[in-house]
């Protein structure tokens, strides 16, 4: 993407700027959509209608909320650590947004074609932890602090099973680049990693059950990483009011909100790339059929967002169905179940891929 724009414009700074702005626009638009979707999903699950007044079925509601939030007074309590308090939302948002730099939305739309894409995503996501801890500590509020402590413990713990599953996929595909992983699973849906990857043979069929186990593990741990129910204890509103962002108001609070939804898409996208072919279409491309090559990247973008939003929808579905776990039970799930299973899965996939 950058190279293409650089050749077109001939100015590195402008090209880089455009490359950065496009994913940001996509994510902000997606966040608006996702917040609306969450309200509608929850409403319809609960025998309600949700927002109905602003636009068709309330689709303008999030925009109205954003305008309201921008107009709100930016309240900063007296006893907060002002510098950290103001940096924290920016840091959280940056960490989440930077992850999108390496995620391929389509074969032509990648912020940065880094070779170590998945490694970069996992590393940069860790910035979020620092931001959360800053927010919790600087708020000078016991609820915030408890929320931040819980959140950090949770995210750091659940990074391990995520990383183990990612490692097994890296072992299988032999690349760290998310774009290459997506390219490998090309053409039809039986080439997706969840169904054993692109090569036919004994290994493919042996792999399928372990792929499904890996998928379940990474899906559960990504739920925990983005603080969604049943792992939403950092912001458990019935216990800790709002967790680490209790003291925030106005647009700073809005940044945490947008970050949450952006994170949901990021992890869903990673899961889609690792197991469900990323931006690849499940049944070939329309553009190939009618011979219009430029249509293919757009189709790919559609498929990537479709897969991502499907997983986001499942996250919402779970949120509005399940109660939440307790902090010690959460750690039990991670350390006693997910990590051992992920390790065994890693070893088995390693052996199979040697076959």
């Amino acid at each position: 993407m950058y190279q293409f724009l650089y050749n077109l414009i001939g100015n590195g700074i402008i090209a880089g700027f455009i490359v950065a702005v496009i994913p940001l626009g996509v994510i902000l638009l997606y966040a608006l959509f996702a917040i609306w979707l969450e309200r509608k999903v929850s409403a319809h699950m609960q025998d309600r209608l949700g927002p109905m007044r602003t636009g068709w079925h309330g689709w303008l509601q999030t925009i109205a909320d954003m305008i309201k939030m921008l107009q709100k007074e930016d309240i900063t309590a007296n006893d907060v650590d002002k510098i950290l308090f103001n940096i924290a939302p920016v840091l959280v948002f940056t960490g989440s947004f930077a992850a999108f730099a390496a995620i391929p939305f389509s074969s032509k739309l990648i912020g940065s074609e880094v070779e170590v894409g998945i490694f970069f995503v996992i590393a940069i996501s860790s910035l979020v932890v620092a931001g959360i801890l800053m927010a919790g500590w600087s708020s000078n509020n016991k609820y915030s602090l408890l929320g931040a402590m819980r959140s950090v413990a949770q995210i750091v713990s659940y990074e391990i099973p995520t990383a183990l599953v990612v490692l097994s996929m890296v072992m299988l595909t032999g690349t760290l680049s998310l774009d290459k992983m997506s390219q490998m699973q090309t053409a039809y849906f039986w080439n997706w990693n969840i169904l054993g990857g692109p090569h036919f043979g004994l290994a493919k069929f042996l792999l399928i059950p372990f792929m499904i186990v890996g998928f379940i593990i990474i899906y559960i741990s990504t739920l925990a990483e983005v603080n969604r129910t049943p792992f939403d204890i950092p912001e458990a509103e019935s216990e800790l009011v709002a967790g680490y962002f209790t003291e925030y108001a106005g647009m700073k609070w809005g940044m945490f909100m947008v970050t949450e939804y952006a994170n949901m898409l990021a992890v869903s996208g990673i899961v889609a790339i690792l197991f469900f072919g990323g931006y690849q279409s499940p049944f070939g491309y329309f553009g190939n059929l009618i011979g219009v090559q430029w249509l293919i990247p757009f189709e790919q973008g559609f498929w990537f967002l479709a897969k991502g939003i499907t997983f986001v929808f499942v996250q919402m579905w779970l949120r509005w169905t399940l109660p939440r776990l307790r902090v010690d039970q959460l750690m039990t799930v991670c350390w006693k179940y997910l990590i051992p299973y992920a390790l065994v899965n890693l070893i088995i996939i390693g052996i199979i891929s040697l076959l």
């Binding site: 025998d47 019935s238 216990e239 509005w320 939440r324 776990l325």
Partner: protein, 371 residues
Amino acid sequence: MQLKTDTMILNMGPQHPSTHGVLRLELELDGELILNVKPHIGYLHRCFEKHAEVMQYNQIIPYTDRMDYLSSMGNNFGYVITVEKLLGIQVPERVEYIRVIMAELQRIASHLVALGTNGLDIGAFTPFLFLFRDREKILSLFEMTCGARLLYNYMWVGGLSHDIHPDFQRLTKEFINYFRPTIKELNNLLSFNQIFIERTANVGVLPLDTAISYGVTGPSLRGSGAAFDVRREDPYSVYNRFEYDIPVGQGIAGTVGDCWDRYYVRVLEMEQSLRIIEQAIDQIPEGNVQSAIPKRIKPPKGMVYGRVENPRGELGYFIISDGNTNPFRVKVRGPSFVNLEVLGELCKGHLVADVIAILGSIDIVLGEVDR
């Protein structure tokens, strides 16, 4: 190396999403572990008992509505049967049957809120709204009968404020048919949800002897295994004419007397209430519901204690009369107030998240705690 650590005091409430009103809990924490809980009450104190001393007997009824505002019918019921005991009047059969039906409908409505908020505190938002949807149907029945949806002022000394609507019996039967399956739905969605069981089973275990020594009553006591129910122990109104069971906690998910048992006892009680309503609804005799209402309430000197089984436990009224038109003293034994006392005992050694689950399972209404 031993690090010196300090305990942290956390004020939970009075403005907190899940203290069920304006309860303030002073938690002494070691990390997230609870060392001590001190409930602070009184934010909703409205001097009910003092007010009652300057009111005429029938003027007190609207005040009783506002104590346990989730079970106004039950509060009315307790008050009027106590005053009737003092006056020594007999109310018509029709009144008795309608009162029982209303009290049982109210019990279901109240338990629906209790179960819903208990789930909500643990993070299950959807069951809460499902249960409120069902409660809405009961409130419509009440609204049809007396025009009010929350504070009814329906039962009067010696009678009722309104007779039931001609459609009431049919609609109540429809409600029973509708509601039976939704209890199953609730069990599928929440009661036997593995995460819910993890959160509530073996948490906040209330041993029977502790429960009795604190004077805990209602579902919280029955959850610990004692089949104590005022409707059975000290039958009032026409309760001895109906067949119903008294569900007790059996420790299906964990230990007897844990949060899950207290929760599940309420689910089972809703079914028993349906049974009572089913039996009563067809037996309502004809008659006038206001024929026995005394023109002027001026009881003889004396004192009386009357009690009913409210959704939260034994609701008792102790009334002293000095022969005037207003009582000399009205003392209320509120089940929420008594049950709340056991909270400190239950929470020790648990985590912050458990306080919420335990508080939800004890099911208090601050309007009654503070009065």
